[in-house]
């Protein structure tokens, strides 16, 4: 774990979790499979947040006090809210999205097994509703991804096991 700048650190986001931060930090989540990593940022203010969404829609929840960070439709508005309180301007937000793979090629197409594409659809729909443009995305396929967003450059690093690192 090399750190180039001692003043910056990597903010780590777990599964069904969400965090916001400011430059010079970077923000990262590891091992996205069918989950989707949603980065929303204000480029000028250098404020960004990342949600690691596990499921598409909170209507799927079968518990009363569910974790709102788990679902695309509930996590994204909360992410925007937290960004605003950190100084981001809600009308100038942009997004980058990665994940939503299908890790196993199941023969029987049960709905739960198509969860990756459904997560992506749900995330994109919610972002559209909130008029947040998606500037880059790397979704689908069948490989796990680790992503890290650099607030200085607004680039999202996507790492997979076979293809290495790319920046979007």
């Amino acid at each position: 774990m090399s750190k180039l700048m001692s003043s910056s650190h990597v903010v780590k986001v777990g599964i069904a979790d969400l965090k916001v931060t400011k430059a010079p930090n970077t923000i990262r989540t590891s091992g996205l499979g069918s989950c989707v990593g949603v980065v929303i940022y204000d480029e000028r203010k250098k404020v960004a947040g990342l949600a690691h969404v596990l499921l598409p829609d909170s209507k799927l929840a079968r518990q009363n006090n569910f974790n709102h960070y788990k679902y695309a439709d509930t996590a994204i508005p909360l992410l925007v809210e937290q960004l605003s309180s950190l100084g981001a301007r809600s009308n100038l937000l942009k997004a980058k999205v990665a994940g939503g793979a299908q890790m196993f090629q199941f023969s029987s197409g049960s709905d739960m097994m198509r969860i990756g594409p459904r997560n992506v659809e749900s995330v994109l729909e919610k972002l559209k509703q909130l008029s947040i443009p998606v500037l880059a995305s790397d979704t689908g396929g069948n490989a796990g991804r680790t992503i890290e967003f650099d607030l200085q450059t607004s680039l999202l690093k996507v790492r997979t096991v076979n293809k290495g690192e790319t920046f979007i």
Partner: protein, 208 residues
């Protein structure tokens, strides 16, 4: 059912499930590689999703995983997980061919690992089925070689709709022969609705 409120007896019963399954799996693996295979005492853990990834070495660590969806009266997901080195050791041992590498393009290596997983997991599940008298039909094996986090969330999809933690029955088998690296890790993640059926079958239904 609130899994955080399981009684000790219920946890013991689940551990016993792991025990019987892994015991049978070790025997079956032992026949396959013609070596003595031991098992560790299984553990039953209620873990958050992040903790589950940490148990396998972190969400980014690369693992070889065979996933079986279990259909029947108590559905769930079983993973048979190896490191790449462990999987290659197993392939070499079975085929007596040192040249085989675990590569998605190497059909022979892939089918050897799938078939070995099929046999050993079949033994694991049939022991569970006999013990609980619950029918458990495994699907065909689905193989993935990728980041642990990406692979394991598939097994959490059912449970994640009702809870933010999963109950996993974790059993390891390994060769006692020192030079050999043959090891494997079974993770059994029952779907949330399966617990009441498992407990009923094991006679430990009280007060949850």
């Amino acid at each position: 059912m609130d899994l955080t409120k399981l009684t000790q007896m219920q946890k013991d019963a689940l551990r016993e499930i792991g025990n019987i399954g892994a015991g049978n799996a070790a025997t079956s693996m032992s026949k396959l590689v013609n070596r003595k295979i031991d098992m560790d005492v299984p553990t039953v853990n209620i873990v958050s999703f992040d903790e589950m990834m940490e148990r396998i070495g972190g969400p980014e660590s690369v693992v070889v995983a065979l996933l079986f969806r279990i259909q029947g009266d108590a559905p769930g997901t079983v993973y048979f997980i190896f490191s790449i080195e462990e999987a290659e050791a197993l392939i070499k041992e079975i085929t007596n061919n040192d040249a085989l590498r675990l590569d998605v393009n190497d059909e022979l290596a892939i089918s050897v690992i799938q078939e070995a997983g099929n046999i050993v997991t079949g033994a694991y599940l049939s022991a569970l089925g006999d013990f609980t008298n619950i029918t458990m039909h495994p699907s065909v094996p689905y193989l993935s070689i990728d980041m642990a986090g990406a692979i394991l969330t598939v097994g959490l999809l059912e449970v994640s709709q009702v809870a933010d933690y999963a109950l996993i029955i974790d059993a390891k088998i390994s060769s006692s022969y020192q030079v050999s690296q043959i090891k494997g890790n079974f993770l059994f993640i029952p779907d949330p609705d399966s617990f009441s059926k498992l407990f009923k079958a094991l006679g430990v239904t009280n007060d949850v």
